[in-house]
């Protein structure tokens, strides 16, 4: 084939590819934007709803006018959100810290130490990942009652930690497993014991995974509803989900904009947390999951 013809055919193919690329790009953006719209529309509607009042909502409006920003302070006061926030933060954070710590330890042990029965222990962790939580409701309630722990924050911290442990251990194990042997051997040559290796060498390398577990578990705890409902009945000790849900049957029964405002207040911290830490979150999530 002569070079001229060859060059021409390459050029033709490139032009065709160029056109295809442009059409492809437009199509790609169309799909992305459509998907984005579908993903975000409900959340945006909720925000919009929180600024309306009932007549506007029932007239079928999509956008509030005039906006009622006072729904927010009203919602804040109505549900005693300050107290709810404090309880939720306390419980979610405490169990998150416990989960991260315990699953880091367990992940290291399962991922890097050969010990008898390791498979069985890991199997138990996997079971934790798969069981439906309602199974634990009544037995735990009765136990907590015997221990006098009902209506305390500890009543939630314990189960939440357990629920997060399975996921946390799964991720941490994968991550630890993927760390290079050389590091460990070098540290051992330096005379470090197991704990030293763990604390000083390996753990710092797992920051993304720790962040992932922390955020994921925090999220799960923040939103948890069934156990919070059953174990905590004193108003003062309530966490956000039950407190918000209680609005549904309170004097704001039927006042959907205020409900929406309280739902936004409820969701905002989590979203903020996610936006701030999303890089670590994604890194850790995928790294921990992919290392398996």
């Amino acid at each position: 084939m002569s070079t001229a013809v060859a060059r021409a055919s390459v050029a033709r193919r490139q032009r065709a590819a160029g056109r295809a690329t442009r059409i492809g790009r437009v199509a790609m953006w169309a799909v992305l934007l459509a998907a984005l719209g579908v993903s975000l529309a409900p959340g945006l509607y909720m925000i919009s709803l929180s600024f309306m009042d009932n007549p506007q909502l029932f007239a079928g409006r999509l956008v509030p006018w005039p906006p009622h920003a006072e729904n927010y302070p009203r919602a804040w006061v109505a549900s005693n959100i300050g107290q709810l926030y404090w309880n939720s933060i306390y419980v979610s954070t405490a169990s998150m810290v416990a989960t991260v710590a315990i699953s880091a330890l367990a992940g290291y042990g399962l991922g890097r130490i050969r010990f008898a029965g390791r498979g069985l222990v890991y199997g138990i962790v996997l079971v934790g990942l798969t069981i439906p939580l309602q199974i634990a409701l009544i037995p735990l309630f009765m136990n907590l009652r015997v221990l006098g722990l009902l209506n305390t924050r500890l009543a939630l911290i314990g189960p939440y930690t357990a629920f997060g442990l399975a996921f946390g251990t799964y991720i941490m194990k994968g991550f630890f497993q993927g760390l290079p042997r050389e590091l460990e051997e070098a540290a051992r040559l330096d005379g470090a014991g197991e704990l030293g290796i763990f604390a000083r060498v390996m753990l710092p390398l797992t920051r993304p995974a720790l962040a992932t577990v922390a955020i994921f578990v925090f999220l799960q705890n923040w939103n948890e509803f069934l156990f919070a409902l059953t174990f905590i009945t004193e108003g003062k000790m309530r966490t956000l989900p039950t407190g918000i849900y209680a609005l549904l049957s309170s004097e704001f029964y039927g006042n959907y904009p205020i409900l929406a405002a309280s739902l936004v207040l409820f969701s905002v911290p989590v979203l903020v947390l996610y936006f701030v830490f999303q890089r670590e979150f994604v890194e850790g999530l995928t790294a921990g999951a992919l290392k398996h």
Binding site: A106, G109, F115, T130, I135, L165
Partner: protein, 301 residues
């Protein structure tokens, strides 16, 4: 003791020292309830009297085997998973492929797609109730506005469409999760293989089908597994939206468990359902890892 034995002893000790706290917590809060449930599933109890009722052996399981609601719930649970997982993973994969370019906006887009995952279920169900309402809901209003009024339908009120509607909401909520994992997986692919194929003249289609997808198999499998497990356990979403109705068309195993325990006072039967659910989830998880030749301990990083 020989040095080897001593090392093994030290390893075991170390292993259990590290895994110990987790074991204790899991035993107290997970294993104990499972044992409790297995035991309770062999008895009758109404949940009100202080002590369990009589031991009935496998009677509860036999009753379930003859209960059409149970088979309906099982069928719905499986259907839920079989429909939702491909959609969720499929859409997630598609979006991941689209986002897998040198896009400046990629981190932002990825974050935005994840928002539904982060939203609380109470919020989601309230909103979608407003979306699906037959007369003034957003979906039907939209359909009528664009001239597709014939497609307007009582989505949650019709047994034929209730389950698909609930599945749709679940897909909507979870696509972001799959997207994030798959996107990271795509970016972790060995670029040289992909480049080589591209240089060989493969177009986008062939590239995707023949090169990328096979490379992504383990990650796709993992994403699918997480989706399947979540799908079998689903409760909150279904319960709040439809309570398992109408006429059991959206009843899944978890909602049946709740109904039997807290509305019909059949604690024994509810525990049996719980046990069956656990066994089902474990088997499917095991089956999938077996089929895809991935052991939980090894790994193909």
């Amino acid at each position: 003791m020989s040095p080897a034995a001593r090392r093994r002893w030290r390893s075991n000790l170390a292993g259990y020292a590290f895994a110990g706290p987790a074991l204790v917590v899991l035993a107290a809060f997970l294993l104990y309830p499972i044992a409790y449930s297995v035991s309770l599933s062999l008895h009758e109890w109404d949940g009100y009297t202080p002590h369990w009722g009589p031991f009935v052996g496998f009677e509860n399981y036999r009753a379930l085997a003859g209960d059409e609601v149970f088979w309906r719930a099982t069928w719905n649970s499986i259907l839920f998973v079989v429909v939702r997982t491909p959609l969720e993973v499929g859409f997630g994969f598609l979006l991941a492929l689209l986002l897998n370019r040198r896009l400046a906006l990629r981190p932002l887009l990825r974050t935005l797609f994840f928002v539904p995952v982060v939203m609380s279920l109470i919020v989601v169900t309230i909103i979608f109730q407003r979306v699906f309402e037959p007369n003034t809901g957003l979906l039907n209003t939209f359909l009528r506005a664009v001239g597709l009024g014939d497609w307007a339908h009582p989505w949650l009120g019709d047994p034929a469409t209730a389950l698909p509607a609930v599945i749709a909401v679940s897909v909507w909520k979870n696509v972001g999760f799959s997207l994030v994992i798959l996107l990271a997986g795509l970016q972790g692919l060995p670029q040289d293989v992909v480049e080589a194929a591209r240089v060989d003249g493969a177009n986008a289609w062939q590239l995707t089908l023949r090169v990328i997808t096979p490379l992504m198999r383990p990650i796709l499998a993992l994403t699918a597994l997480l989706s399947i497990i979540g799908g079998l356990k689903v409760f909150d979403l279904v319960f709040i939206m439809t309570r398992g109705g109408p006429t059991y068309s959206t009843e899944v195993l978890a909602t049946m468990l709740y109904r039997e325990a807290f509305e019909l006072n059949h604690m024994g039967i509810a525990s049996a359902v719980a046990v069956i659910l656990v066994v089902l989830v474990l088997s499917i998880a095991r089956l999938q890892t077996f089929v895809l030749d991935e052991s939980p301990e090894g790994g193909q990083a």
